[in-house]
Amino acid sequence: MTILEIRNISKSYGKIQAVKGLSITVQKGTVFGILGPNGSGKTTTLSIISGILKPQTGSYRWFGQEPSKWLNRKVGSLIEIPYFYPYLSLYHNLKIHCLIKDVPEKDIERVLEITGLASRKGSRFDTLSLGMKQRLALASVLLGDPDVLVLDEPANGLDPEGIAEVRNIIKLEAEKGKTIILASHILDEVEKVCSHVGILKWGQLIASGKVNELLVEDDTIIISSERINELHELLVRAGFVKTSQCDEQEITLTLADEKTPADLNSFASKNGFTLSRLEVRKKSLESQFLELVR
């Protein structure tokens, strides 16, 4: 089931084109990560689908329908930093969110428990640490137990402990079957939390797919053998190699499409080479990401 369908949306600020003809589809139950360098249009995209910004062209549909008020209870959005009234307590801030979403007030206790803020419910918002503010933002998003969470940089500015806490909350919600759309600078976070990823550059989607698929693509293989130069020439001639680099000790290569490390080992063996080393280095999402956006 398609939860969100973005069709060809564009948004510019004056002469700056923030999003350009962007189309993304998010399926139910996926944790969809949106990656991109600063200024790639991540926040603009999430702001558009959250109804804060109006796209200049294109459209988007939630649950196959035009966005409308009933979405409040189905989609919880956290865009950029949390915005609350600094002079109000956590409880009063969340009470405002409950009223907006038509959620019973008793749900405040539940979300404060989940986010570990129950003991601070009477504190003013401006007395909270950054991590607590971020957790309160997550608490507000979780009010009413929405089916979809839209989170923009949820771990932004947090210390490692805070990042782990927020990541844990997201993972727990994902395990409950929620669809989560997450924009983050922290590639490691996307790698650990997301099932799918879309990479943005200059407001355009330049790569998209399952995280595992993106990771498998172009893994680096390192092999060692006797007569290393001869083996290198053989592999190139046989079409095993997409890219390669050979020195006196080893060959570092990426395999051509549809070739596997097992195929390579078998081929080398058949041609009289015994590999003393065959190491598959999975490409990290970070290197994949950097390669794509450069």
Binding site: G51, S77, L78, I79, L88, L99, I100, S140
Partner: protein, 275 residues
């Protein structure tokens, strides 16, 4: 509507600046009334006591209350400006309010504060009238009580202009400065560039003229200053202490029209611009 009202109540009751401004408004109004009630002008033909008696008390207290409408407008600018500076308007749209809801919520605050002003004028006028009026009659009590409604419209007018300026500038300090400048400097200067008749139709002029200065100089005395031929030498129009000669009903209609126009502009700005 009830939901929006509840949300606004949470915001304002817990906002210290709101409480301070409202208390200040209340105290300043009472102070002016108490101090002026102690002034006894004994110039022939003038008496201050009429200001505190039915039916003139409605007029004089509404006029005094109108001095402090600027304070109410500044308070509204603070509330709207906060929504922009805290980015809570933005957050509330993310959470699920429509842009219209944002405007309706703040409009309810405008109505609530204007009602408070009316209640204040009503209670103080009633108490003052009961204390100072001699020969009290029902007709006398209600004769000019319609000015409560007029004051209500005026308070809404002041705050609507404040609301519009806050939406335009999105910055509390700048909005307050621009609001005061517009009232004190900009519109009066613009008015001077127009013919005398046209000056009466400017928004601040219209809204300010809703609560006219009390006519105590003419109505206060049983023995007006007359010359030998029996005519008054006091040319009130010439010395500018009487309201401008625009029919009162027209002033009210124009004030309502301006409020409608400014409200429409607020809707347009909030709906069309990013928040």
């Amino acid at each position: 509507m009830k939901k929006l009202f509840k949300i606004e109540l949470i915001k304002i009751w817990n906002y210290a600046s709101f409480r301070v401004i409202m208390i200040l408004h209340f105290l300043l109004f009472l102070l002016v009334i108490i101090v002026s009630s102690q002034i006894d002008i004994s110039v022939p033909g003038l008496t201050m006591k009429n200001l505190f008696q039915f039916p003139h008390v409605w007029e004089s207290f509404a006029w005094i209350a109108s001095w402090f409408n600027l304070l109410l407008a500044v308070m509204l600018i603070l509330l709207v400006g906060n929504e922009f500076s805290y980015k809570t308007f933005r957050q509330q749209v993310i959470t699920g309010l429509s842009r219209n809801d944002l405007i309706i919520g703040k409009s309810l605050v405008v109505l609530l504060v204007a009602l408070y002003g009316v209640l204040l004028v009503f209670l103080t006028s009633t108490i003052s009238g009961l204390i100072f009026t001699r020969g009290l009659s029902i007709a006398m009590v209600f004769e000019k009580s319609y000015l409560l409604v007029v004051y209500f419209i005026q308070a809404i007018g002041y705050m609507t202009i404040g609301f519009l300026i806050a939406v335009l500038f999105r910055n509390t300090a700048l909005s307050i400065v621009m609001y005061l400048l517009y009232f004190i400097l900009i519109e009066p200067i613009i008015r001077l560039m127009f013919p005398r008749e046209a000056r009466l139709y400017f928004p601040v002029k219209i809204i300010s003229n809703l609560t006219p200065r009390p006519e105590f100089l003419t109505i206060a005395s049983d023995e007006p200053m007359l010359d030998a031929s029996g005519h008054s030498n006091l040319d009130l129009n010439a010395i500018g202490i009487v309201p401008d000669p625009l029919p009162f009903y027209l002033t009210i209609l124009l004030a309502l029209a301006y409020i409608a126009v400014f409200s429409s502009l607020i809707f347009i700005f909030i709906r069309k611009r990013d928040i």
